[in-house]
Amino acid sequence: MNPKTTNKIAIGLIYTFVAIVVAILVSLIGYILVTGVPHISWHFLTSKSQSFLSGGGIRDQLFNSVYLLFLTLCLSFPIALGSGIYLAEYAPKNWITEVIRTTIEVLSSLPSVVVGLFCYLLFVVQMHIGFSILSGAIALTFFNLPLLTRNIENSLKSVSHLQREAGLSLGLSQWKTITGIILPAAVPGIITGIILSAGRVFGEAAALIYTAGQSAPIIDYTNWNVFSSSSFLNPMRPAETLAVHIWKVNSEGITPDANLVSSGSSAVLIILILLFNLLAHWIGNLLYKKMTSNF
């Protein structure tokens, strides 16, 4: 075979494989959107879910997902930032740091249902926190930490070594060099990482079934008292998220329109996660442009 033919065959094969990947993605997302989008309406998004009757919405589940995401980021971001800075800037090259890195790898590959059950036993049962947004946020922090830490470490490391030398040679301490120069330069990458991990957290279900619970008690959106059990802000109340709702409606839903509710919820979930991804690219690019030039 001459090189030209080999090249043509190789390119053909590569295009075929790419086409397979794209086809899977498009058919999957297409199916979810085609079956779900017609059911999405203002009423669907803003009314509460029904247990027996048709016409239920996803208002509370939607809010719970967002609130849970917010709490998860509040818990995981500071820890991830600290450990990311340590790994990127301070950690010496020895076996202890290697153990830390391996631990992070392992943590990120734990099956979510195992983490969910672990958190159920430890936080929900042993520590008497009960099914609550807080327990859910702790469980999700377990997933989020390795991703975020890795992302922050890589973002910091990708800042040129010349910048570090420039800072130190100006008489800045290592800490000032990191917080004043390296961290701002790494912000675009870090923001992108946060939003991408947020998308993953948003779609998580298995770990939440055992921690945040599967019930959506009636909550009052006008009650701003965090300690009141009916307040929408109370982190100690059980809270069913959108992803858990989809699972529940499919496995034990008895409403006549369970199918439609499930398709609609799935479509909302997918659309939101796609938006997260687009937002990540957009904000990342915007920040990068802002930091590197002011045209």
């Binding site: 040679s169 301490s173 330069a185 002011n294």
Partner: protein, 251 residues
């Protein structure tokens, strides 16, 4: 005349590998001294000893005496950040921070605790003027420093060092990444800066060394071969190796 910076019996090891074999070099105030020699001769390594940038590298052992205005640079009681402010450094690659020109120059001052905006503005302007880049950046001082050309970036980096008022400026091949026009602008700048600062510069460019420096040190394989006034060295070197190197027979 005793120098502002005196080094004695300098030995440096990368692990067990000796890279500098023990030599003395003294630097005079308000002079430009260039270090020349083939790649790998240890001139950049030596330069980085002078503001302790080698501390960042693992496995480096440094012996010998380094005295700046009579004080030991490697004494445990020395304030490292203070030392690096007094002995500033300009690198081979222009490395401005990804901030505006103004912030690049003002950064060291702000972190040193200076709050007076008016005073900072004044020093920023002075430093950029001293570094001969003011006219080119004054209308876009809030633009990112990264949007300027390499030569302009390097002069912004010089201004950044000048702003913290060092006594000595170390330069590690400051023009090797630049075009000839930018290089000559920087050379002019250095000659003007001499009256206020002491400059120690590593260069690969013989013409540059002969044009602007008062003294030249020739290093070869970790040894100091010859150290003399630039004029004497380029016209009538006393060591055969020096004349061979200057004539381009090796290196």
């Amino acid at each position: 005349m005793t120098g502002i910076l005196q080094t004695k019996n300098v030995h440096l090891y990368y692990g067990k590998n000796e890279a500098l074999h023990g030599f003395d070099l003294n630097f005079n105030e308000n002079e430009i001294t260039t270090l020349i020699g083939p790649s790998g001769c240890g001139k950049s390594t030596f330069l980085r000893c002078l503001n302790r940038m080698n501390d960042l590298r693992p496995n480096v052992t440094i012996n010998g005496s380094f005295k700046f205005e009579g004080k030991d640079i490697y004494s445990p009681s020395i304030d490292l950040t203070e030392l690096r402010k007094t002995i500033g450094m300009v690198f081979q690659q222009p490395n401005p921070f990804p901030f505006s020109v103004y912030d690049n120059v003002a950064y060291g001052l702000k972190l040193a605790g200076m709050k007076n905006k008016h005073k900072i503005d004044k020093i920023v302007e002075e430093s950029l003027k001293e570094a001969a880049v003011w006219d080119e950046v004054k209308d876009s001082i809030n633009k990112s420093a990264l949007s300027f050309s390499g030569g302009q970036q390097q002069r912004i980096c010089i201004a950044r060092v000048l702003a913290v008022k060092p006594k000595i400026i170390l330069m590690d091949e400051p023009t090797s990444a630049l075009d000839p026009i930018s290089s000559s602008k920087i050379e002019d700048t250095l000659v003007r800066l001499k009256k206020d600062f002491t400059i120690i510069m590593v260069t690969h460019n013989m013409q540059q060394a002969s044009r602007i420096s008062d003294k030249t040190a020739f290093l070869l394989n970790g040894d100091l071969i010859e150290y003399d006034s630039t004029q004497k060295m380029f016209v009538n070197p006393s060591n055969k190796k020096t004349s061979d190197y200057l004539n381009g027979e090796f290196g």
